[in-house]
């Protein structure tokens, strides 16, 4: 689906196909409902946000409307309309010598983005996407490039243009996956504005920055939520992190947050999460993460060996093929355990920031020797729950 190879060590082809058969009628029903919704607004525009639209989005946007809905409801479309021509400008700027380092880092990751997706490995044009011959694209085609895969050239341009636009982030590994998946649903200019919206508006500050302190803060928030709402799991995991040598669970969960679950959840489940994420905001990531823990509570508590547990946590989202069940659990069955709104999240993030800063200052002042200032590595290590 979407060019991804079906089936891997975590999920067999048969399991996926079985689910697809089950899910097809639901997909069909959603498609009809959405078409009816659009007809109500006869002018072909997407309806303004309402509780009905939100409910529809939580139940899944049909694939043919996905790109459009993401752009519209996230605000990225408006962003783009206000900045016509800006993307092309940034692409032109990005060939400047001073961005060479970014370009090199991005180049190294291009071929490592979805190496198992046919669209990222061959010159086959995408069938899903509305392709427009933008002036940028045609100009670049005349230049000799290292790759002949159209989507990789788009990926390169979007990532470098973003690095130019946002120097505090530049290029952060994991954004290649995010943009890669976006490009399967929209044009490159749209993907660019979607990326800006995600990094600058949806995700908290500092998530993808050079110090990645936003990751640390959000993981602290997530662990606190786990402890409060699923004490059994919270206890199990904190017991491990207290044991020497046991890897903290935040190694696993920071990956979930950075990639917005790309390559973590099976693709259809990932897309259902994105449907909600782009409308509702980053609290969706917390809700989904908590749901994943809740769905596997018994297994987590039953595994005694810390390393086995770590491996289990690493792989558990990869089996969630039933996207409908995941979202049902998230917003209905376990809603009391996963619920967190934007305001509460803001408060928790502030608290987490204070806690991590305090932990950092006590760790550094405890160092008796007049050592030089801790390296960045050491300071962030102190921020994590070691």
């Amino acid at each position: 689906m979407y060019g991804f190879r079906k089936g891997n060590q975590h999920l067999s082809l048969a399991e996926i196909q079985k689910f697809e058969v089950e899910y097809a009628p639901t997909m069909q029903r959603r498609r009809e409902k959405w078409d009816a919704l659009l007809r109500e607004y006869s002018n072909g525009q997407l309806p303004p946000l309402s509780s009905k639209v939100r409910r529809f989005i939580r139940k899944g946007i049909p694939p043919h409307l996905r790109g459009q809905c993401w752009l519209h409801y996230s605000g990225a479309m408006e962003y783009m309309k206000k900045n016509r021509g800006r993307y092309q400008q940034l692409v032109a700027l990005s060939s400047d010598r001073k961005y060479r380092e970014h370009r090199d880092l991005i180049e190294r990751d291009l071929h490592r983005t979805f190496p198992e997706n046919i669209q990222f490995t061959s010159a086959a044009p995408s069938t899903l996407v509305r392709r427009r011959a933008s002036p940028v694209t045609s100009r670049f085609r005349q230049q000799p490039t290292s790759s002949t895969v159209p989507i990789l050239q788009q990926l390169r341009r979007v990532l470098t243009a973003f690095a130019v636009r946002c120097p505090s982030v530049g290029y952060c590994q994991s954004l290649n996956y995010v943009v890669g998946l976006l490009l399967l649903f929209m044009s490159e200019e749209e993907a660019f504005w979607m990326l800006c919206t995600i990094v600058e508006r949806i995700m908290p500050e500092g998530m993808y920055g050079v110090k990645m302190e936003g990751v640390t803060v959000d993981q602290e928030v997530l662990m606190r939520l786990l402890e409060e709402r699923m004490p059994a799991i919270g206890h199990r995991l904190s017991r491990d992190s207290a044991e020497a040598g046991a890897p903290p669970v935040t190694f696993v969960t920071s990956h979930w947050f950075l990639t917005l679950f790309v390559d973590v959840l099976p693709v259809e489940s990932n897309l259902r999460v994105w449907d909600c994420l782009f409308l509702e905001g980053s609290e969706v990531l917390f809700r989904v993460a908590l749901t994943l823990f809740k769905m596997h509570e018994q297994q987590i508590c039953a595994i005694d060996d810390p390393l086995e547990l770590f491996q289990y946590l690493q792989n558990m989202p990869k089996r969630i093929v039933n996207c409908h069940w995941l979202m049902e659990n998230c917003f209905r069955k376990y809603t009391s355990m996963t619920h967190v709104n934007a305001k509460e999240l803001e408060r928790r993030r502030k608290h987490a920031r204070d806690v991590t800063l305090r932990r950092l200052s006590t760790t550094t002042s405890a160092a008796a020797e007049p050592a030089p200032a801790p390296t960045r590595g050491e300071s962030v290590a102190a921020l994590f729950r070691l």
Partner: protein, 218 residues
Amino acid sequence: MSMHGSSLEAKLVILGSQGVGKTSLVMRYVQNTFSPHSASTIGASFLTQRMQVFGVIRRGYVDDCRVVLQIWDTAGQERFRSMAPMYYRGANAAILVYDITSEQSFQDISSWVEELQRNTGDIDIHVVGSKLDLAEKSREVPQERAQAYVRNTLGSLHDVHEVSAKDATGVDELFHDVTRSLVERTYEIERTRRERQAGDVQLRDGRQEASDQACCNV
């Protein structure tokens, strides 16, 4: 000839710059597979591998030791480096990978060595040059120079390993050397401890009491 069926569990961390082939190296070793473009690693991933080291001298006997290697494969981008201390904390060995076709990636090795030596007790460091299959076409780091650096920095008994995950050259040998070195070090620590203990006992009451438990866990 195995006298003791010993076993050892050890933690190995793989570090190095972005795109030098850390994941490919691990995949070649653990799964014996190679894909020209493996997905970039975000954060870290964790694998275990069981192996056996034959013929190590332990308490005067030749011993075979079963080893469970916990392998931590990490992200290479500079900004993820801030998380590295959490990966190498408690590690017994580190493989530092550079790409023989990239001078910069080799330059980056020294800061890893310094960081590990500063922050860890006595981690066993191995320096590895990857992408040996590209040596003829685009080598930037001469082997002699890498070797000289390794001997200078880590001691005269150390060698640089040059490997290719693509054609499998040197990969099994590398991991075998790493594991063997881990086992030998463990036995060495064990021996020193026993001797010290024996010395203590003799001083106290002249009775020699060697502790016989296999204290093999590093």
